[in-house]
Amino acid sequence: MKLVELASTIRSKNAGVDHITFDIICSDKANYERVKSSGALTKQSVAQLFRVSEDRIASFVVFEPAQAIKFTIRREMPSGCQGETDMFGSQQYAPLFDVEIP
């Protein structure tokens, strides 16, 4: 099943000027447990998905109170530099939709 069918929220946003943070929230407990235990989302797998080196994954956290998996990618340049593609970092999450969850 694809992550987009199991998650209630998939979003990205700047976390300060040097990072973009990604939140995957499953409001349904069963879906959350399934996504969490699937092993489909790890520091390595998201680095590959977003085509960045693993050292740019600044953080990868499971946050139980929100039933969320959260990871953060360090920007190559601070937000709003020349050549910026997404000032707020708010449209970077689409590749997560198609992640296969066994």
């Binding site: 040097d18 956290v61 109170p65």
Partner: protein, 455 residues
């Protein structure tokens, strides 16, 4: 300590107007304070660097007016943080002017106005660094040196609760603060009322984006936060919204790297043992937060500097063969630029933002077999000289029109031009400082003023 009730009608005053319905409900719920933050580092480096607000004054005035009239009628204090997007001296002065103007327009009775500047001259930072003081880099940045400061045009210090606590103690009815930590403007009155650092800062953190801590998603609606002896309560005021454990917890991690810790000048809020409970259909209570005091006080410094002038040009591509070969067309265009102006990265930079392919995600875009019908390309050129930026941008775009690809069928021009003009864009700025300095006195970097406003 006594229970304190705060309403917050907007997560960033001025971007779009607050919603009146839920604000009126909030005012009817017997608040002790009306508080909102009006700035962010989210808006890019341009506003701070150029010292311009990113919000329309029409909406800034709209919200200040609603809040001021309600605060004066209820006879409760009002606090605004990070005035006018940047929290610079300009922003504070603008909001002070608006407050006085609104008071005069409505013939309000006298009230005490405190305003607190937080800009810090780059020369001041330079002196500190040269005397051996550390301007510590945050988020993995190196400590700031002369070179970084040379690229910095304007900087602000981010105030914590102390300058605002002082203003409250001084009898302020309205406080306009320069750049401030979002939770701190809420924590200040709670600390004054004797609440713990943990509850005061957690309440601020939960409230600072207003209705974003509720569900379903709504912006610009009012929420009510209460600090009591037994925890922090957050209630959504809009009839269609509620604060749930999930929505409040989701907000705790919003726009943050670490959902468990929130750093403020005095130390950090530890949320790793927070417990969220639904106590009524619209209210969630949070307990378990703790505060870890640092042995030093660190004040965050944000700084921005101008990098170059910018020009833009928009072209469309519809020929499927050109679309397939767009990178070759762009390389050809860059070759033409190199002939005349040297390689990109020298006296200019050029970016081809290919909407329809990977303009939004750049190198992170996964490879796809799909091919769009058309591409929209925004050509961006940066250069020290504005006129030269325009000249280079013009031919960076026009060379797509003349691109020489083998087997091309469309020999009358390989780009569609929507409007044959170079658009003069805002200058390019950069966040040069995301740093912190250690201070003995958390008030020392901030300049408070006070007057009585009589209309």
């Amino acid at each position: 300590m006594k229970p304190v009730r705060i309403i917050c009608p907007t997560g960033h005053l001025g971007t779009t107007p607050l919603e009146k319905g839920s604000f009126e409900l909030g005012c009817a719920a017997k608040p002790d304070y009306i508080i909102a933050d009006s700035g962010s580092a989210d808006i890019g480096p341009y506003p701070l660097g150029a010292d311009k607000s990113s919000s329309d004054e029409v909406w800034q005035r709209h919200d200040l007016e609603h809040m001021l009239l309600a605060a004066r009628e209820l006879k409760i204090p009002m606090i605004i943080g990070s005035a006018s997007d940047t929290g610079t001296d300009r922003g504070v002065d603008q909001y002070v002017g608006l407050i006085k103007d609104i008071a005069k327009q409505h013939k309000l009775g006298p009230f005490n106005l405190s305003y607190i500047y937080s800009e810090i001259p780059v020369d001041d930072l330079r002196k500190r660094v040269r005397s051996g003081e550390r301007l510590r880099g945050l988020t993995g940045r190196p400590d700031a040196d002369d070179a970084v400061l040379a690229r910095t045009g304007r900087a602000v210090a981010v105030m914590g609760a102390d300058p605002i606590r002082n203003a409250l103690r001084d009898g302020a009815d309205v406080i306009i603060a320069g750049r401030s930590s979002d939770p701190a403007i809420f924590a200040a009155p709670l600390l004054e009322a004797g609440h713990s650092f943990a509850n005061a800062y957690f309440c601020g953190k939960a409230m600072e984006c207003a209705s974003f801590c509720g569900e379903p998603f709504m912006g610009k609606e009012t929420i009510l936060g209460r600090a009591e002896a037994d925890g922090v309560y957050v209630t959504a005021m809009h009839p269609g919204q509620r604060c749930t454990p999930a929505s409040v917890a989701s907000h705790a991690m919003y726009e943050r790297i670490d959902p468990f810790r929130e750093y403020v000048p005095e130390g950090y809020l530890d949320m790793s043992k927070c417990h969220y409970e639904q106590v009524d259909p619209k209210t969630t209570r949070v307990t378990g937060q703790t505060f870890v005091k640092g042995d030093k006080v660190w004040v965050k410094i944000e700084g921005s500097g101008k990098v170059a002038e910018r020009a833009l040009f928009i072209v469309g591509i519809r020929d499927p063969h050109t679309i397939t070969n767009i990178d070759r067309a762009i390389d050809w265009a860059k070759g033409k630029l190199t002939e005349r102006f040297g390689a990109p990265g020298g006296q200019y930079n050029v970016f081809y933002h290919k909407y329809g392919q990977n303009a939004v995600m750049g190198a992170s875009e996964p490879p796809t077999n799909g091919k769009p019908n058309e591409l929209g390309i925004v050509v961006e050129v940066t250069c020290q000289d504005a006129r030269l930026a325009e000249t280079i941008c013009h031919i960076a775009a026009k060379n797509l029109f003349y691109a020489r690809l083998p087997d091309v069928k469309g020999t009358a021009g390989t780009a569609a031009i929507m409007s044959d003009e170079v658009l003069h864009a805002r200058a390019a700025y950069e966040w040069t400082l995301n740093h912190a300095i250690e201070v003995d006195d958390p008030l020392s970097l901030f300049r408070p003023h006070r007057e009585t406003v009589r209309s």
